[in-house]
Symmetry: C2
Subunit: 261 residues, 2 copies
DNA sequence: GAGTGGTCTAGACCACGCG
DNA sequence: GCGTGGTCTAGACCACTCA
């Protein structure tokens, strides 16, 4: 029971010259926003169930159908996971059926399960000052503290991915090389667990490049071997960038897979 | 008015040993299937409006809400396009706001609109016999007739993409180099218009490679320039493969963009 | 059997596009 | 002002999970 709808739909806001009217916000979008706030505030932790649709409907003072539509959208964005008969759960990078949610590199033959998990070797992990590029990508000022790490992922004993990554120092203070290498499972799952930061979506820019001498050596290829450069920016709930990652992928036994709708 | 629901939900089909029960098919999924059939049969052409939700509800003998949910899914798969106040339309590669629906290559600065349309140069277009690889990708037998084409796309005067593509000869009989070069707009739109074949989704496998001498010459780069190899298989409504395309992308002024959800 | 999400319906009203 | 898709409600019943 209880409350009245959070806001009246703003059907008649003043319109701005030159721009289309500010648009009207349906109830279920407002409910979606409220659920998003609770997710962001950590009211429900990754992997946990959120309240049932009926409970949320009562809490927000709307019908079940309206809550349902809000949850539908959040589930479509992979922020929530519905399980019939059990409840609706906060998405997590752990306990994912697919091992790595953001990694699109696939073995040429077989699939990720036949290949087994990656072996990780952390080469470097330390706190540095952000240069201009890193600062821009993470929404920081140049010179602010960031954690920089480098590691090599190997599949079936063959070094395949060289990753450099940068995380804002403020959110990940105290991250160690040990955490980066010892956590069993995706690094994003470790960041959720240890720092409460959940990466929710990401953008990638892909190029073909040649490695420098050090990169080639780490991947055990020649400097004439073309590699995929994958620059990823990952975002948390409020669309704030929380990670910059640059991967160099060997594509002699793997390929980057993409589905176009 | 009219008909009874197309099928009773098959709640109690015999279950197969070792497999989970055959599942139950909600009404809206059946409606979705019927709409899909009409699309595939060409009852409504790309760009045209399909009947209103009320009309379809009457035609199928279900409620508007059920038709709505079926259409929602088809719109989510980009097969239909909803426009409030106007109707629901069959998606098309023409009149797309984004010029190229399947092309993920973006200029490093600015966007596709600032860059202007690509200039196309068709180098080759002829009928050949499918080799084993092409036959497998297109679901043909080796030796069957396929149309093979090669072309270069240039942006702002700079050759950027070299494409080889293969189309099943049966569906595209009579395709000429002239059609490939003269049609203003996406090639996929031309194939819709001239052959009634609509590419609905695609898969891409991406690698970093070095070009051979001929490829390098066509793209005006050296043989030591790393390029993106993008092998795309495109599918029509019934998930039948209808095109194999291999692109070599220069990534010195462009990058392949991907969003991860 | 109780509780969850999933489907389906019927009806009311709203926003949008267009003649 | 009409027809379209879009929102919201209320209620019934179904499928799934787990105790």
């Amino acid at each position: 029971m209880s409350a009245t709808p959070p806001f009246a739909a703003d059907t008649a806001l003043p319109s701005v010259a030159g721009l289309p009217a500010p648009a009207f916000s349906p109830l279920y979008q407002q409910i979606k926003g409220l659920i998003l706030q609770s997710l962001q505030a950590g009211e429900w932790k990754p992997g946990e169930a959120i309240p049932s649709e009926m409970d949320l409907a009562a809490r927000f003072g709307v019908s079940q159908g309206t809550v349902r539509k809000a949850i539908d959208e959040l589930a479509g964005e992979n922020l929530l996971l519905r399980r019939q008969g059990k409840g609706t759960f906060v998405s997590t990078h752990a306990e994912q059926q697919v091992q790595y949610r953001f990694l699109r590199l696939m073995p040429d033959s077989g699939d990720a399960t036949t290949e087994g998990p990656a072996e990780r070797r952390v080469i470097d992990c330390r706190s540095v000052r952000a240069n201009a590029e890193v600062a821009r990508a993470l929404g920081l000022r140049a010179g602010e503290s960031v954690i920089q790490a480098r590691r090599v992922l190997s599949f079936q004993g063959e070094p395949t991915i060289l990753e450099d990554l940068w995380l804002p120092g403020s959110a990940f203070k105290g991250l160690t090389a040990l955490q980066m290498s010892d956590y069993p499972g995706p690094t994003y799952a470790m960041l959720e667990l240890e720092f409460g930061v959940r990466m929710v979506r990401a953008d990638e820019k892909i190029r073909a490049v040649l490695p420098d001498a050090e990169q080639a050596s780490l991947l055990q290829v020649t400097e004439q071997t073309p590699l995929l450069s994958v620059v990823r920016t990952s975002y948390t709930y409020n669309d704030a960038p929380m990670e910059l990652r640059r991967g160099l992928y060997r594509t002699d036994r793997h390929h980057y897979r993409n589905a176009l709708g």
